[in-house]
C-alpha cells in the first residue's frame, strides 16, 4: 500500500515537472536563436574628395537580437557577395550581452569571423546589439554604373564558444 502511494507521488511529481519543463522550453525556444531586425540595408556612396577618396557611409538602422543559452556562446558573421568590388565592414555596437569583436571586413568567400564573443549564459534569456555597417570605395574601384552594385547576403550565426 505504502509502495503504491509512493509510486503515485512520484508519478504526480513527474507530471508537474513535465509541465514546468515543457512550459519553460516553449517560452525559451519561442525566440529564434538569432534574428536580424530592421530588414535589408541599402547604402549609397555619392561624394568624394578631390585628390583624396570617396567618402564612406555608415548605416546603423538594423539590430541583432539573440538568445542566450545555458552555456557560453558567440556570434560569427560571414557574407556572400559574388563579384564584390567595394568594401563593407561591420561591427557590433550597443552590445547588451557579450563582447563586441573588432570591426570585420566582409569579403565574399570569407570564413566566418567573430562578431560578438563571450555571450554569457542566461538569465536573462536575450541579448541585442546594433549592426553598424560602413561602406567605402576608392575612385579606382569605379562606380556602380560600370561595375554594378555589391549585394551582400550577410549571415549571423550563434554557436557554442
Amino acid at each position: 500500500m505504502g509502495n503504491m502511494q509512493g509510486n503515485m507521488q512520484k508519478a504526480l511529481m513527474l507530471a508537474i515537472l513535465s509541465v514546468v519543463l515543457c512550459a519553460f522550453q516553449t517560452e525559451l525556444y519561442a525566440q529564434p536563436p538569432v534574428k536580424v531586425k530592421g530588414g535589408n540595408v541599402a547604402m549609397t556612396i555619392s561624394t568624394g574628395l578631390p585628390g583624396g577618396e570617396l567618402v564612406s557611409v555608415v548605416n546603423t538602422l538594423t539590430t541583432l537580437d539573440y538568445r542566450r543559452e545555458n552555456y557560453l556562446t558567440k556570434i560569427t558573421v560571414s557574407t556572400s557577395c559574388p563579384g564584390q568590388d567595394f568594401t563593407l565592414k561591420v561591427v557590433a555596437t550597443n552590445v547588451s550581452a557579450g563582447t563586441a569583436a573588432p570591426e570585420v571586413t566582409l569579403t565574399h568567400g570569407m570564413l566566418a569571423a567573430d562578431f560578438i564573443t563571450n555571450i554569457p549564459q542566461r538569465p536573462p534569456n536575450t541579448g541585442s546589439c546594433t549592426l553598424q555597417y560602413t561602406a567605402s570605395a576608392t575612385f579606382a574601384q569605379g562606380s556602380s554604373a560600370e561595375v554594378g552594385n555589391d549585394v551582400h547576403t550577410v549571415t549571423y550565426t550563434i554557436l557554442a564558444q
Binding site: 513527474l14 535589408n40 547604402m43 549609397t44 556612396i45 585628390g51 579606382a140 549571415t155 550565426t157 557554442a160
Partner: protein
C-alpha cells in the same frame, strides 16, 4: 576536434537536449546532443532501425536524482557511452541573414588650389631689341577624383579675344599624362589624359607672353577645367 570520453552526470549538469543527429541509411550512428552548463555532451550509440520512431522530444526529467527518458527507449545504448565534448567545440545553434546593398554613384570632382593667379609682365630682364616678354606662374595646382573610366581633363578660357597669349601646362601629374603646353582659347584643349578611375593632382604652370608691340594693358581670364570622355 578533440574528444574525450568520460562519464557525465547529465542530471547534476542540467542537461537539455538540443537535437538528434547523424542518421545514415536508417541507422542513427550518432545520438543526441545535450547542452550542459559548461559545454556540450554527445550521447552516441547505434540505434536499430525499429527504434527510429522513438525520438526523444522531451527526454530529460529530473526526479529523485535519476535520468528518466521516454519509456521503451533502450537504456542499453543510452548508457553505452557518453562523450564529453570540450567547450570550445563550435556547435551551431542558429543563424539569420539579411541583404546589404552597396551602391557607388558616379562621382567626378575637381578642385583648383587657389582662386586667383596674377601674372605681371614687367619687362624686367628684357634684352634690348627683343620683342617678346614672358612671365610664368606655378603656384597653383589641380586636384581631381574620378570613378569613371576613359576620362581626360580639358581646359579653356572665357576670354574671346585676349590681347596677350596665355599658355598652360600640367606639371608632374601624380596620375595620367600631361597633354603638353597649350595656348588657351575658348575651345577646350586637352590638359591631362588617362585620368579615369583615379584621384590625383598636378601643378599648373601658366605662361603669359606679350610683345612689346602689343603695348600695355591686362587680360582677365576665367579658366575652366572639365572632365570629359577620352
Amino acid at each position: 576536434m578533440q574528444l574525450t570520453e568520460q562519464p557525465v552526470d547529465l542530471i547534476s549538469r542540467r542537461a537539455v537536449l538540443i537535437q538528434q543527429i547523424i542518421r545514415i541509411r536508417g541507422r542513427v550512428l550518432g545520438g543526441y546532443l545535450f547542452n550542459v552548463a559548461d559545454g556540450l555532451v554527445f550521447l552516441y550509440g547505434v540505434i536499430p532501425k525499429a527504434d527510429l520512431n522513438l525520438r526523444i522530444t522531451r527526454p530529460i526529467l529530473l526526479f529523485n536524482n535519476r535520468l528518466i527518458v521516454k519509456q521503451t527507449f533502450s537504456t542499453i545504448f543510452l548508457f553505452a557511452a557518453l562523450l564529453s565534448i570540450p567547450a570550445n567545440v563550435e556547435a551551431q545553434i542558429g543563424s539569420d541573414n539579411h541583404t546589404v546593398t552597396v551602391q557607388v554613384s558616379t562621382v567626378t570632382v575637381l578642385q583648383v588650389s587657389s582662386g586667383v593667379v596674377n601674372l605681371n609682365i614687367t619687362g624686367a630682364g628684357m634684352v634690348a631689341g627683343q620683342d617678346q616678354m614672358m612671365a610664368t606662374d606655378q603656384s597653383t595646382s589641380l586636384l581631381w577624383g574620378i570613378n569613371s573610366s576613359n576620362k581626360k581633363i580639358t581646359v579653356n578660357t572665357n576670354l574671346v579675344n585676349p590681347t596677350y597669349t596665355l599658355k598652360i601646362l600640367a606639371v608632374s601629374p601624380t596620375v595620367g599624362i600631361a597633354a603638353g603646353e597649350v595656348t588657351l582659347s575658348t575651345t577646350p584643349a586637352d590638359f591631362l589624359l588617362n585620368v579615369g578611375r583615379s584621384s590625383g593632382s598636378c601643378q599648373i604652370r601658366y605662361t603669359a607672353i606679350a610683345l612689346a608691340s602689343q603695348g600695355t594693358g591686362s587680360d582677365n581670364h576665367q579658366i575652366t577645367f572639365t572632365v570629359q570622355t577620352q
